[in-house]
Amino acid sequence: MPVDQSAYRKWDGTARPTRAAALAIAAVLVGRFYKLRLVRWLANVVAVGACVLAPIFLYAKHMSERDRGLQMAMRQMGFDQINVLALVNREFHTRASFFAVLICGVVAAQLIAEDRRAKALALYFSRPIRHIDYLCGKFLAGFFFVALLLLVPPVLMYLAEIGISDVEGAAGEQLPMLLRSLLAGAVLGGALVTVALAVSACTDRTNYASLIFLGLMALSWILGVMLAEGIFKEPKWFAVSPVASAHRVVYDLFPDTGQLRRTALRVSRMEVALAWKSLGAWTAAGLLVLLAKVRRVEVVS
């Protein structure tokens, strides 16, 4: 970049409030993590995950004759229809949710805390940006990493499926499943990133923010299990945990058509409705804490 060696020069343009502040904030954070090789590391995880999941999916889709016989036997036992694609997506999201918690703990939970530690909020808000721009930027940066885990593999699976399928119109046929899978990832990722950012806004110690977020998720999970299966023995208490709620939402998005299968998973309509409400409540609470905290931090910093 050539440098003007003369003294101060006027700038020809005019500074004005920008609508793209959130994108600029997200881009600079993602770029920063890229320099830390985190993105490359995550991309590798996604690539390996896709390599592992795609064969499972394809194997399930094109089962061997012996497995077809097994499926027939299961149907005779009462599982009248098993939607393999739903099963694969459901298994993927259920397992990926734990990794999403981990990523949020490592990345999203630090995004605001490190700004607080570096007192960067004073610099951010010396610019013509709104609090919502700042928060959206942070959210997009955090969500980017979760999306690598939750949204990219379903797309890869979908592309692999329509690539090898000999069924005419497979792309359109499988599209609803892809959209549901993306919705599941967006709901889970959105809730987790919001809560992680809320935790991040409450401290200026990045390590504490990560530990508090991971601890909160673990505690809520344990508490949900204890209340639902131990103390009250009522399934509704699972809703204490956002991860457990996300699992119910996944069951709702990828249901089996067989009635017995649903009963076997013990996911009732009431639980599904409660799960959606629980995720909504966690997200709303996270947003409220975020708005209150960031406004206050900026004022007192």
């Binding site: 970049m1 050539p2 440098v3 003007d4 060696q5 003294a7 101060y8 020069r9 006027k10 700038w11 343009g13 005019t14 500074a15 004005r16 409030p17 920008t18 793209a20 502040a21 600029a24 904030i25 600079v28 920063r32 320099k35 830390l36 490190e114 700004d115 530690r117 570096a118 007192k119 960067a120 909020l121 004073a122 610099l123 951010y124 808000f125 010396s126 610019r127 013509p128 940006i129 709104r130 900026e298 004022v299 910093s301």
Partner: protein, 303 residues
């Protein structure tokens, strides 16, 4: 009008940060002087639209409480605290903040190189900002304030943590911006020498109240009818003539002359004529800003 405030008040719980402050400043280099906790930073934050307050305020004709983003687009702000955007190099920080001010990516990048160079961050601008010394961080903050070429600079304690040489360099840079590049500068500081070196107008705050407001020349002129007079000839005869005229004179070479109440400087020339001496210099005695500041602080304490 650069800044106009009327009855501005701000409380944090029971603490009164600003108490019915009213003033207006037209431009140039203005010093905001006061001890720590006097409300300087709060005043700047209100003017930036970062804090709500009672009363009215206007910056460049805009209400910062109603149109904060438009105000901030036209102001460059150097915060008091040591602050950096973590994980970025110096030039990246400046370019990023330029982007947030509404500049295009290319323009922000080019401009970031120019202003980092201008503030004296040469090759250091490629180093990560968190590794900067305090002096370099202050320069970097000034560069972030300049990147979008604002009309007005709000500088909150810009010499904090600088060594004496660095402090003088920074102050000279600020003065250059004010005098040669037409920037309006509001310099908040508790260091009298900083304000004296850069500013032509001063606002003095204490405990959230405005104690004095005026030009530096006006505040430092003694205003008590005393002058520094240099004469060529018989000084003792001149002193005697002055005393005979009802005034007073003392000292050697640079005589401290006090005129009687209501008298003009004509009296000095009449006494010189009578004493057959030549007046080589005549200037009103000046107090330092420190004298004025301490007198105001004591006066306010007594009140």
């Amino acid at each position: 009008m650069l800044v106009a405030v009327e009855g501005l008040s701000k409380r944090f719980g029971r603490t009164v940060a600003l108490d019915k402050v009213s003033f207006s400043i037209g431009g140039g280099a203005v010093g905001l002087l006061g001890p720590n906790g006097s409300g300087k930073t709060t005043l700047l934050r209100i003017l930036l639209g970062l804090l709500p307050a009672k009363g009215t305020a206007s910056v460049l004709g805009l209400d910062p409480m109603r149109r904060p983003r438009e105000v901030r687009a036209r102001i460059g702000y150097v915060p008091e605290s040591e602050c950096i955007v973590p994980g970025l190099s110096g030039v990246d920080v400046v370019a990023f903040l330029g982007r947030l001010a509404g500049m295009s990516k290319g323009a922000a990048r080019k401009r970031a190189h120019e202003v980092t160079y201008f503030v004296g961050l040469n090759e250091e601008r490629y180093r990560e900002a968190s590794e900067y010394s305090q002096g370099m961080q202050q320069r970097l903050k000034l560069a972030t304030a300049l990147v979008h070429d604002p009309d007005v600079l709000f500088l909150d304690e810009p010499t904090n943590g600088l060594d004496p040489a660095g402090r003088i360099e920074m102050l000279d840079l600020i003065r250059e911006l004010a005098t040669e590049h037409g920037k309006h500068v509001v310099l908040s500081s508790h260091l009298l020498q900083d304000v004296e070196r850069v500013c032509t107008e001063v606002l003095m705050l204490r405990s959230g109240r405005l104690l004095r407001h005026g030009t530096l020349a006006g505040l430092t002129s003694a205003g008590d009818g005393s002058y520094r007079v240099r004469v060529r000839g018989d000084e003792q005869r001149f002193v005697a003539e002055m005393r005979a005229a009802g005034g007073d004179a003392s000292g050697q070479e640079d005589l401290l002359v006090t005129l009687p109440a209501g008298a003009s400087t004509d009296l000095v020339f009449r006494a010189a004529r009578a004493a057959l001496v030549q007046v080589r210099g005549l200037a009103p005695t000046r107090r330092t800003l420190e004298d004025v500041f301490l007198a105001e602080m004591e006066g306010d304490g007594a009140r």
